[in-house]
Subunit: 559 residues, 2 copies
């Protein structure tokens, strides 16, 4: 057996192309690439405008079965497929999300992909990168400061200090900031009130940046943010505080997509990273639509499993941005299927064909679901060394029994050479013209019915239920003109149900909606079905204790 | 009278050189310049190491009389002099501070210089620039999170939650965050305690970044930060929480100086920006020492007037970094001298030679003070249109009576062409070899005696006074080994005394030290003599209300 290198060893050994050359390969002139170091660049807003007349390439979604602690490798497969398409002669690009910096100091940071299917520079992407998240944090907190400042100077808008909906954000795991009383210390510091911080990726500004079509649309959406309510419960908007212009100024660079490269020097946009529970969990619309104008194939991914991620990708991102995905790839691993089949993590090493077969129920459900959106799908089996022939064959047989194809992919170990077959299949699906993409529900369906539709058709539950207060809230928003918004489900990613331990393909479960929130700027209604943590904490022995710079100035302990 | 253009109009009309060409002019190879867009770049740590063997250039300090609302133009003169030196054939560089983003959304943002003596790109420098302040914010707040996390998981170090000295920071004017109770909401959120935020420029991490000689020194100093005390009052260090490595990793790019250019395409480092009251108020040591290795003349500035800024520059920055300034320029304006002579701001338009003469007492005091450090000085009269011949002559006569020279400078209106005479004089002073720089007091003087020495010799007060508790604290630090640190005075910048309304050259005032703080990582003891605000608020009508992007995508309202 060959010796295995760690992700960071592979990433550091990569021969990077100057980012200007990567951009030139896409036809982007140097003056329209704003470099950040020699290996990252933003594409100018002007260039993005210039290419609007181009024909669109084909959009490929990479999604997955329900995540398990075994790991599925969705990003790895996204990156590998991008390289694979380039290998077979296609002009392809990858679009993925940016990583949040804060959590890397709690647990070891995630690379962007893994093995020989990675996007680089890994260090920067797990730290400040091009500063997008810092810009989002700043814009968000400017609005927070303006709210308290407005109250301080007389509160002309009549904000009810008990009903301030806009919290503050920080890109840090800091449980001490979840709940606080601010403005203490007397007259000069304002009116004491309850407040708190979320992590930056949970900011509505993040969701807005990722759904906005351009800077003007971004500013308009920011103005639409509801920051608080008056005593009569009427909403106060960011626009009422004249915050939208300054916030857009703070975001003017952040809205431009970041160009980096894969280990094989193929182009990738890494841009935006909204939460996949209280937000939609996809990279920015600007990155995806721009990539479609400059590449023939664009491979992108959605957060979590297909029940949450793909559904939101289709029903929120594609609906809003007018995207028409040509094909979908559903990633599964033998190990994760075994866990879905009831095997414990410690027992994954042993062959267990029965468990694989049992776990395939989860995969089958996701295949059906993706096809409900009219998008042709193929299953990618992301190969692990411990997989046995019989286990792999069991997956292939199961998928074949559904009339679809499962392809073994070895991109983690072999890079693009290991994923050629999938690349050819994806091209065939995308070029077949069989995609008849349509969202799951129409805009004009009632809000609660939208939730219920997702519960029944995607989660296969018996019904969505909610207290009268939740239903009344939805009715009120419908009366205020928000009824046409899509819903954004915040549910555990580990199960089709709201019970994270219920793996496989449960049916007939009830999905209780505990709370609903309106993200009026982003343009969706969040349905919260379970405990959702918007500010993580650090573990007892945080990874920060082991992070340092070695003698060569290289970062140790982050990966 | 010619039509005047605004600073931003002039800045936008400037013909920028690609930053790689600016760097090449200094002999920096392209691979050692890390670009941020086409007009900003960081110089690599590796290159900085490579040039350590070079001979040092001459260091010129630009300082000023006590600031008044009339404006003195210290940065403008720093930039103008850099251009002037280049104009007369010298290889010169400018080193100034970075601007804090937050305050720009309260009041109109400051440009870097003004008129035809500016550093560009102005927009970026007043917004995110190269992300240094965001990195400092993040590193600071990681340490804050680690403190509460340590307490949460058992508090092995025995931190007294009433004695946490390390607050949080944000680059925003947000009075609501000055004082708060955090960790509310029950067991999962920790132990409720009093906490608060300062603005990022007040962070000790900022002071450390600006005093560190390299990344290793930075990490060592971060480890030295005192974050809290135990019940027995023994200090808990950042090192005890194993925070220093991760914080250094977060700062590894921020520690590299930022190269930009003047309107005349001459090189400038803009790097670091610590508070000038609770910190030392100078750009980074790394920027200054690197500039000295790659240019023959380096023009830098210190915060506020010479009583605070130059004293700290000499006694903290030069002492610690082993810098030997060759000459100093003291900036004065006829208008500011008139205000020091008792004229109100609204009456500055009218000629008033007597007031100028009276106000010269302030200038005279600063000339004497700078010479106390053994550094030869020249006065730069920064010309305003309203100045009359007689007023200018009064300043020249006064300075001549002290045996020194005052030179009229028209760099604001004319760029380098207007400041040639000063440039020649500075070269003459610097090359004369007359500088005999020495700090005001020795390292081994008692801490309170250091404060008293500054009060008597620089402020010309009768004495420093302090309660027993303050003196006891200083003795305790001496016993703990901190007695050799310099002191950092936090006093009003408007007067030699602690009364901001006492302009001119007061004597025999008493200077009360209300509080002392130990910045053990930065390496100084702060003596607080008056109200010091470390988190500003926003005004009733903040400038953010008028900031937006115009149709061309240009920023309006920020300047």
């Amino acid at each position: 057996m060959a010796e295995f290198k760690s992700d960071i060893e592979i990433a550091r050994a990569a021969k990077k192309k100057p980012i200007m050359d990567v951009g030139a390969g896409l036809g982007i002139p140097a003056e329209h690439l704003l470099p950040y170091g020699h290996d990252k660049a933003k594409v100018s807003a002007e260039y993005i405008k210039q290419v609007q007349g181009n024909k669109d390439g084909k959009l490929i979604l990479v999604t997955a079965i329900n995540p398990t602690p075994a790991g599925e490798g969705k990003t790895t497969t996204t990156v590998g497929l991008g390289d694979g398409l380039n290998r077979i002669g296609k002009k392809a690009m990858v679009c993925i999300r940016e990583a949040s910096l804060g959590p890397n100091f709690g647990m070891k940071g995630g690379a962007a992909g893994g093995g020989y299917a990675q996007v680089i520079p890994m260090e920067d992407m797990n730290l400040h990168f091009t500063g997008d998240f810092h810009a989002i944090t700043t814009a968000h907190n400017l609005l927070s400061a303006l709210i308290d400042n407005h109250i301080y100077w007389g509160n002309e808008q009549g904000i009810d200090v008990r009903r301030v909906a806009w919290r503050r954000v920080m890109d840090m795991n800091d449980r001490a900031l979840r709940q606080m009383i601010c403005s203490l210390g007397g007259v000069a510091n304002g009116f004491p009130r309850e407040a708190g911080f979320d992590i930056t990726v949970a900011s509505e500004v993040m969701a807005i940046l990722c759904l906005a079509t351009d800077l003007a649309d971004l500013q308009k959406r920011i103005g639409d943010i509801i920051v608080a309510y008056r005593r009569d419960k009427s909403p106060v908007f960011a626009r009422d505080l004249k915050a939208d212009g300054a916030m857009a100024v703070l975001l003017k660079d952040a809205v431009q997509p970041n160009l980096v490269q894969t280990l094989e020097n193929n182009p990738a946009f890494v841009h935006g990273g909204p939460f996949a529970n209280i937000a939609h969990g996809c990279n920015s619309v600007v990155a995806t639509t721009t990539a479609l104008k400059i590449a023939d194939y664009v491979v992108t991914e959605a957060g979590f499993g297909a029940d949450l991620g793909a559904e939101k990708f289709f029903d929120i991102k594609c609906r809003k941005a007018g995207l028409k995905p040509a094909a979908a790839v559903i990633v599964a691993t033998v190990r994760a299927l075994k866990m879905n089949g009831g095997v414990k993590k410690d027992d994954l090493g042993a062959e267990n064909v029965d468990a694989v077969k049992k776990g395939c129920a989860n995969l089958g459900r996701h295949i059906e679901n993706v096809k409900q959106f009219g998008v042709p799908a193929v299953v990618a089996i992301n190969h692990f060394h411990s997989d046995t022939e019989a286990e792999i064959q069991a997956v292939k047989d199961f998928v074949a029994s559904m009339g679809e194809e499962a392809i073994l992919c070895r991109h983690w170990a072999q890079g693009s050479a290991g994923i050629e077959e999938l690349a050819h299949k994806v091209v065939q699906l995308a070029e077949s013209g069989t995609s008849q993409f349509a969202p799951l529900y129409p805009d004009d369906m009632k809000l609660f019915d939208k939730i219920d539709t997702i519960v029944k058709r995607i989660y296969r539950g018996s019904a969505a239920i909610a207290d009268k207060s939740v239903r009344d809230q939805l009715h009120q928003w419908e009366a205020q003109g928000y009824g046409n918004l899509p819903v954004c489900m915040a549910k555990t990613q580990y199960s089709f149900s709201t019970d994270p331990n219920l793996r496989g393909a449960p049916t007939d479960h009830v999905v209780p909606v505990r709370e609903v929130r309106l993200s009026a700027g982003a343009g969706f209604v969040v349905a919260i079905c379970g405990e959702i943590m918007t500010m993580p904490g650090l573990p007892k022995s945080p990874s920060s204790e082991r992070i340092f710079l070695n003698e060569k100035g290289q970062i140790e302990g982050l990966f």
